[in-house]
Symmetry: C2
Subunit: 102 residues, 2 copies
DNA sequence: CATACATATGAACATATGCTCATATATAGT
DNA sequence: ACTATATATGAGCATATGTTCATATGTATG
């Protein structure tokens, strides 16, 4: 195929796509997102269920928040996190399905 | 939600899924896979089109080969690479579509 | 078999990543 | 205001990752 016949991706697209997949490439974040896809959770609950430190969970939530993959609401001292990007959850679930059926 | 009511992922599933996404999280590999999804390419062609060194391309192809995301056939001195995992290409294209339409 | 060409591979290096530890901030109750 | 609880954040550290450079391997041809 000749150079000019290629369909090239815009560098902005490539950056966006790699960022989406980078988020999903870490086991910890997969567990957090999968958990949040099932129920709204506060931070300590996530830490307990996933057997992680509060700090580690909070750092990851900070990242997920910045990328707008999760949102939260406050109730007193407690923050309840939930998923905020259905498309990313869809990619995750597809990969899970594919992995489980092969 | 109580602990016993959660649907947990098997650690094997988590590892598989994170590995799929890890492959797709690097801009270079995205470009290579997207290129190979359009046409079968030899190594030097990939290097030229993507403006990368032959060595860098070869290292990445080695990884993609080990994960069985690409395959190749030999023709003389030349190796022609192509995609060998439609599901991964599907995930990639979905993420591209999503990125381009937002 | 010597040479040229295509590709692969190992070592080294710089950067990125995810965790822990310590501490800061925010909110509620006394 | 003091204390307890929930969460966030910064620094430091160990490991992982992607590239380059040099060199090796494999294949065709004179």
């Amino acid at each position: 195929m000749k150079m000019e016949d290629h369909s090239f991706l815009k560098s902005e697209t490539i950056e966006n796509v790699s960022q989406i997949f980078k988020v999903l490439s870490d086991p910890t974040r997969i567990k957090i997102l999968y958990l949040l896809s099932q129920e709204e959770c506060n931070v300590n609950h996530i830490a307990e269920v996933l057997e992680m430190s509060q700090s580690a969970v909070s750092h990851q939530l900070s990242m997920l928040r910045n990328l707008r993959l999760v949102k939260y609401r406050r109730e007193g001292k407690t923050l309840f996190y939930s998923c905020d990007d259905e498309h990313v959850i869809s990619l995750l679930k597809q990969a899970i399905d594919h992995s489980e059926h092969h």
